[in-house]
């Protein structure tokens, strides 16, 4: 499943790129994610907790930066993990590209997500919507962190949102509703998400 999102942060592109080199800082922006260990340069172990409707899952696994293209400001991360209770597995290929804009930086994120088990069974209809909400929170968190980083505040003192709960459900439901609404007003595209 290919999910594409982009968001803007009102921060200079070089500053965002510099921030992106600090993988633990970037991971901390993702709601529900945490890195537990750096096992080799650019290779980490960590957890992602997520709630999809009735199912709450905790994925444990590894992430590795497989590509860093300074010229095009593109970073590629491959991650994979399994639910701690054996209810599913996830593999994610994430490509983030930074594009300078008039007011700051547009972050283009492409996620190639493969799910199995309960996450795929229960969450299918919600994955892209939940993902959109997570990206929105990710952008907000990233901006907060870059600001804090700039001011020299220790990362441990920064509070960011965790994934799941009622907020995501409401926001995802709203996105789903809007998608239905769009059908009536926009030209038909069978593969629009």
């Amino acid at each position: 499943m290919l999910i594409k999102h982009d968001f803007e942060v009102p921060v200079d592109v070089d500053k965002v790129w510099e921030f992106c080199q600090n993988i633990p800082q970037v991971a901390a922006c993702l709601p529900g994610a945490s890195l537990t260990d750096e096992i080799a340069p650019d290779q980490y172990t960590g957890n992602v907790g997520i709630r999809l409707g009735p199912v709450q899952m905790q994925f444990a696994g590894q992430a590795a930066v497989t590509e860093r293209d300074h010229a095009n400001r593109t970073i590629v991360v491959d991650a994979s993990g399994a639910d701690e209770k054996g209810r599913g597995q996830a593999a994610l290929g994430l490509t983030a590209r930074l594009v300078p804009t008039a007011t700051g930086t547009r972050v283009e994120v492409e996620q190639d997500l493969q799910l199995s088990g309960a996450a795929a069974q229960y969450g299918r209809g919600m994955i892209s919507d939940v993902s959109a909400v997570m990206m929105r929170d990710f952008a907000t968190n990233m901006q907060t962190r870059i600001d804090a980083y700039d001011r020299g505040v220790s990362p441990d003192q920064i509070q960011t949102k965790s994934a799941g709960g009622f907020g995501i459900a409401i926001a995802a439901a709203w996105i789903a509703l809007k998608r239905v609404g769009r059908r009536f007003f926009l030209p038909y595209e069978p593969n629009r998400i």
């Binding site: 499943m1 054996g86 597995q89 493969q114 799910l115 088990g117 229960y122 009536f184 593969n191 998400i193």
Partner: protein, 795 residues
């Protein structure tokens, strides 16, 4: 004194209230999960999250260490007892617990037996399985592709993913008529995977008693005697020491015919632990691992003459069987009764090719409210017929009528070898067309089209083979498809009837008593009906394929007649006349020359125990085994009108007319209930029920949020009509009815939507005909396929 009034005593034709409902509506049913035995343990199954993966290791040490855990079973434990694999009803093998690799998502990997179900579930989650993912196959195209991964690498001599190739009919003769045809109508169809989803999931309680060596298994099975035989043959236990009890069952629809790993594991666990072990499946387990239905692709062709006659049929079917070929079907035909298609049409030449393939999907193709692929056969038939009528530019009703087998043409041999014996096909169609107001609707449709409204009418007419056997052609693992009834008349004239069938909602406790009432004149309320306990019921093959009334119901009539024959001798003795002078009217024997001098059947019953003639065995009991000479062939005509909203693709059913000819009706109310239930499921298959898979083999439709069942809210109103052509070989003239509407119904809905879309260039939309598929078809002018893997926006 005169004969009793048959309707008053609840005999044939009485719409008698269902006696079983008394306990069901009071919550007093006795289902497997209601049964609690002393010292009972609970089993939970760990299932594979992946569709295709090699098992590198299983670490159950944390599960074993949890308080309350009594036993952990894995493939290794089963293999040590030669139970890792079991034979299927289709002569293949199926993994009980996976040893080498998992082959579908939801496959059984391990079982935990614990003091309560919660501990068992938690312990399952503590088992660590290391999987190495393998490439996944979710449709026949992938399965048959060059270099496709081999799913069944466990089988010797299996070098590809083909399960079988099978054909029937005259290929050369069919090719010749296709060469002579004026028009050849072609269509590609997919009958998607569906699931019976009975309200009660599967479950069992195995209770092995070491002291008596007796194994008692309470289980959700539609065929308890077959299970007993299978356990005896597979586990090599002595058959007299095996007792299978099928208590109340909350719906079967074919889903409860196969043997599932959960049953086997619970039996082994009980033997090892010497305590009762209960396994109750959850909804997701039921939907992702137990017997699915359908999932078959068709390329169909009809050779047509300009005047509308069908000269020949070609069908090329590809069946997706999932990871194991475990179809629950008792015929010798690899693709079930697919070749019963077109039985109601007079077609001289036909050829069918069928291929079965393995995929990484759940196994267990079951006949969901049908007789082994008959639903697919009739759906394909009626979709092909409508497409052919369109290709010829003919009226779809007229096209059917000129090709029907005529009323004076019975018995009729179909080109694929079935023998149909009775029916009034044209009359049923007329009743349906009259009821729907066919001509008026066509005018209304034309008027509506001028204002941009899309109306459509769909017809489905079919006769289907119900009630396997005869035993010449139908068996399960060599056991012939007969059935049985045992009737015991007590001295007070009350009776106990047991049969080898097993009710799951069909109302046997009500209708069997009505057949006895019809044959003997005993009030139906005086007859207790029991089924489902192999220690007490006579050997029978169970209930599925609409075989209860055609086979077990016939046995009930036959055993009643045996009883009546003995009662006649007793009556002669009581009346002190010779047997030749005894006449019978319902409920009473009398002297031919003095009709007012007689004895009731109840008086004969008392005499059987207290005043029998010299030399006669006491008692009034008997048993009958019935092997039907042929299948029964009910006919049905379903007509649906719809309106499609071109702006949203949503379609609404305007009217739904059903005309059913199931021969003589025993309990008209129950028959009507069966038809309404069947049409509800037909509507669901056409409109919403959808088990599909993504490219990774994840089952989409694993819960009732995604797998939609119809409720009273969305189910359309149903108008019922009746034609009666008695079955010529059945003792009371009845034919099967349980499945007709679910078999014939889906095509009527799809045909109606396709009729509304006529002229747009769209020839087919695969079921379920979701609004977004209709919308896409309207926008693109092209057919919409529903084959997996599912698109990411389709959920």
């Amino acid at each position: 004194m005169t004969a009793v009034d048959e309707i008053k005593i609840g005999g044939m034709g009485a719409s008698r209230r269902r006696v079983e409902d008394n306990r069901f509506i009071r919550g007093k049913g006795n289902y497997v999960d209601d049964i609690v035995l002393p010292g009972m343990l609970h089993m939970e199954i760990l299932r594979s999250p992946l569709a295709h993966a090699r098992i590198k290791s299983i670490d159950a040490s944390k599960a074993w260490a949890m308080p309350g855990v009594r036993l952990v079973l894995t493939g290794e434990t089963m293999a040590a007892r030669n139970l890792a694999w079991m034979p299927t009803l289709s002569y293949d093998t199926q993994a009980v617990l996976a040893t080498d690799k998992v082959r579908f998502q939801g496959q059984e990997v391990a079982c935990v037996i614990a003091d309560d179900p919660y501990i068992a579930k938690d312990a399952c989650e503590a088992i660590v399985v290391d999987y190495e993912p393998l490439p996944v196959i979710v449709n026949p195209t992938q399965s048959l592709a060059e270099g496709a991964p081999l799913i069944r690498d466990d089988k010797e001599n299996q070098s590809n993913n083909v399960v079988y190739d099978w054909e029937v009919g005259d290929k050369d003769g069919t090719d010749r008529v296709f060469d002579q045809a004026d028009v050849i109508s072609k269509i590609d169809l997919h009958y998607p995977r569906s699931h019976p989803a009975p309200i009660e999931c599967c479950g069992s309680i195995a209770d092995f008693n070491r002291a008596t060596s007796k194994l008692t298994v309470y289980m959700t099975t539609q065929a308890p005697h077959i299970i007993r035989a299978a356990v005896a043959l597979v586990a090599e236990l002595p058959e007299q020491m095996i007792r299978i009890i099928s208590p109340d069952i909350g719906g079967g629809f074919g889903n409860k015919v196969p043997v599932y790993p959960g049953y086997v594991a619970s039996i082994l666990a009980s033997i090892l632990l010497e305590r009762p072990v209960k396994w109750i499946e959850d909804r997701t387990g039921n939907l992702i691992s137990t017997g699915f239905a359908r999932d078959i692709y068709l390329h169909g062709e009809l050779a047509l003459r300009k005047d509308g006659r069908i000269l020949g049929v070609r069908m090329k079917a590809t069946a997706d069987h999932g990871a194991f070929f475990s179809d629950a079907q008792p015929s010798k035909f690899k693709i079930g009764l697919m070749h019963s298609a077109f039985a109601c049409y007079d077609i001289p030449n036909a050829h069918l090719e069928a291929r079965g393939v393995y995929t990484n999907k759940a196994p267990g193709g079951v006949a969901y409210r049908c007789s082994f692929r008959v639903t697919e056969a009739m759906f394909f038939q009626e979709r092909m017929v409508q497409a052919a009528a369109d290709d010829l530019g003919m009226d779809q009703a007229e096209f059917r009528r000129i090709n029907f087998v005529r009323d004076d043409d019975f018995p009729h041999r179909t080109p694929w070898g079935f023998l149909t014996d009775s029916g009034q096909y044209g009359k049923c169609l007329d009743v349906g067309l009259e009821a729907i107001g066919y001509e008026e609707f066509l005018k209304e449709k034309e008027e509506a089209a001028k204002r941009g409204r899309l109306l459509g009418i769909g017809i489905s007419t079919m006769t289907e083979p119900l009630g396997a056997g005869n035993s010449r052609e139908y068996d399960i693992l060599g056991i012939k498809m007969f059935d049985s009834a045992e009737l015991k008349i007590h001295m007070t004239g009350k009776a106990l009837l047991r049969t080898g069938a097993k009710t799951q909602g069909q109302g046997h406790e009500t209708t069997w008593a009505q057949i006895v009432a019809h044959e003997l004149g005993l009030p139906a309320e005086d007859i207790l009906v029991e089924e489902g306990d192999t220690d007490t019921a006579p050997f029978g093959m169970g209930t599925y394929a609409s075989r209860s009334t055609p086979v077990a119901g016939a046995a009930v009539a036959m055993v009643s007649r045996k009883i009546r024959a003995k009662a006649r001798k007793i009556a002669a003795h009581l009346l002190e006349i010779s047997e030749e002078d005894v006449e019978w009217e319902l409920g009473r024997f009398y002297v031919r020359s003095q009709p007012d001098r007689g004895v009731t059947i109840q008086e004969c019953a008392m005499a059987a125990y207290s005043n029998m003639p010299d030399g006669m065995e006491p008692g009034l009991e008997n048993v009958a085994y019935y092997d039907p000479p042929n299948l029964t062939w009910p006919f049905a005509c379903y007509i649906v009108t719809v309106e499609v909203d071109p702006e949203t693709g949503v379609w609404d059913v305007l009217r739904l007319v059903a005309v059913d000819d199931c021969g003589v009706r025993i309990n008209p109310m129950i028959v009507e209930g069966q038809i309404m239930g069947g049409l509800t499921e037909a509507y669901a298959m056409a409109n919403m029920q959808f088990i599909t898979f993504d490219e990774h083999g994840n089952c989409i439709g694993s819960n009732f949020t995604d797998y939609l069942l119809p409720t009273a809210w969305e189910t359309p109103g149903i108008e019922l009509h009746e034609v009666e052509t008695p079955c010529p070989h059945h003792p009371i003239g009845a034919k099967g009815i349980g499945e007709c509407a679910a078999v014939g119904g889906p095509a009527a809905f799809v045909n109606a939507v396709m009729d509304a879309l006529k002229g747009t260039g769209v020839r087919n939309i695969d079921m379920p005909v979701f609004p977004d598929r209709v919308y896409e078809a309207l926008q693109t002018g092209q057919d919409v396929s529903g084959a997996p893997p599912v698109r990411t926006d389709e959920t």
